[in-house]
């Protein structure tokens, strides 16, 4: 029997799952064999390991499908009109829903392409001269909305996440402890022993690089590439016993 390599999280809802099953079993959506779909759907939900994870929506659709199936299994009613109507109704309704859902699923993909493209396009901030002009004109701010404030903050945070760490310091802040360690190994080859902490951080211009440097020094010490000792509250460094040997 079919082996499900997919998990519930991959679907955005029961209809999404059903569409997957229909596609997987090559069923014809316009002439849907509802029985096959129901069996597959049940089989899939059965295969979900932790039953508690199944969201109510999936169970709700399951219940509807089972109800449909059970009606079909009932012996044919001498006056079958109502039952047949009901069956047709349910099936047509399901197909209609699946088709409509597929429409939005397809269009979401199209929208996503637009979204991803737009994400790559940047705006530039307003020129500061506008503020100067507003000052000259002595224009006071009259309209302001709390939601504008919230939106502004959200925009900031999103951009912060997007561009962090911020532009100017990029090259420095981006440096990893490993890279910095390598850099320092090269650098201390030119230093006369003993050397000081200041000697090792002479190229540091900002705080984040300072922190990375400090961590790199600890790392180099751990790897016995440098050693340090303290004399009269002053810290002195020299090349360690594995300096130049450590790959």
């Amino acid at each position: 029997m079919s082996n499900f390599n997919v998990t519930l999280e991959q679907f955005s809802g029961p209809l999404d799952l059903m569409l997957h099953l229909i596609k997987d079993k090559k069923l014809d959506l316009f002439d849907l064999q509802v029985d096959v779909l129901i069996d597959q759907y049940i089989l899939f939900l059965d295969s979900v390991e932790n039953k508690l994870e199944i969201a109510t929506e999936y169970l709700y659709e399951l219940a509807a499908l089972i109800e449909y199936k059970s009606k079909k299994c009932l012996p044919v009613d001498p006056k079958p009109l109502e039952v047949n109507d009901y069956e047709e109704d349910t099936k047509d309704q399901l197909v209609r829903r699946l088709i409509e859902y597929q429409q939005f699923k397809d269009i979401s993909q199209l929208l996503n392409e637009r979204f991803l493209l737009r994400q790559k396009q940047f705006e530039k901030p307003m020129e500061k001269q506008i503020l100067d002009i507003a000052d000259e004109e002595n224009i006071r701010f009259v309209h302001a909305d709390q939601n504008d404030l919230l939106k502004a903050m959200q925009k900031c945070l999103l951009r912060f996440n997007y561009t962090h760490p911020s532009q100017v310091k990029i090259t420095k802040t981006e440096m990893s402890i490993e890279d910095r360690s390598e850099q320092m190994i090269l650098m201390i080859s030119n230093l006369k022993e003993p050397f000081s902490f200041e000697d090792m951080i002479q190229d540091v211009e900002d705080r984040s690089l300072l922190i990375v440097s400090f961590l790199a020094i600890l790392e180099l010490n751990r790897r016995d590439i440098i050693e340090f000792w303290v004399e009269n509250t002053e810290v002195y460094f020299r090349r360690g016993k594995l300096y130049g040997l450590d790959a």
Binding site: S12, F104, Q121
Partner: protein, 181 residues
């Protein structure tokens, strides 16, 4: 030197940056009627699309602004390290699509189409300013109606909802191929 009309417009739009500038503002500043400015702007939208410009002109929610072309992204990335760009989840996209095509729409109507509850999703989309409440339906219980915002238009680079691509239609004949490709 006298700037051409288009270059004056270019300069003004440039100055306002991400804030954008409206047709009316341009018309007032230049003392030229809106219809004429609109024609020029439409020409400019086409002009900036060619390979001789690193940015393009867009109009979102009646505000005109320049945005850099998508091709520029990778170069900028080499100068400042941009982290991974935002991604919209499938559920968020579906919910937004349904609202955009059917607005104003109630929560229940969205849930009927998607087959799943979307209470939380609506709250998140509202918090992101992509969706907003727009009144109440006249039906029983007077449920809240939702619509997409200007921010939504900008996110998908749409001038207006009229620019949304048509919903696909599937034909019965070649059903299989049409639906699943």
């Amino acid at each position: 030197m006298d700037l051409t009309l288009k270059s004056i417009i270019e300069g003004i739009i440039f100055v306002f940056g991400e804030e954008g500038v409206s047709l009316k503002q341009l018309s007032d500043a230049l003392s030229i009627e809106e219809e004429h400015i609109r024609e020029l702007l439409n020409e400019m939208i086409v002009d900036y699309r060619d390979e001789n410009h690193g940015f393009e002109l867009i109009c979102v929610n009646d505000l005109y602004k320049f945005i850099s072309k998508a091709d520029i992204h990778d170069y900028v990335q080499r100068i400042i390290s941009l982290t991974k760009s935002r991604q919209l989840s499938q559920s968020a996209l579906e919910t937004l699509a349904i609202i955009a095509y059917k607005q104003p729409i109630t929560r229940t109507e969205i849930e009927e189409i998607r087959g799943v509850g979307c209470d939380m999703m609506l709250k998140k989309l509202q918090a992101q300013d992509l969706v907003r409440e727009v009144g109440r339906s006249e039906t029983a219980g007077r449920p809240i109606l939702y619509e997409v915002t200007e921010e939504f238009l900008d996110l998908f680079k749409l001038m207006s909802l009229n620019e949304l691509p048509n919903l696909p239609t599937y034909q019965e004949e070649s059903s299989e191929n049409q639906l699943f490709e």
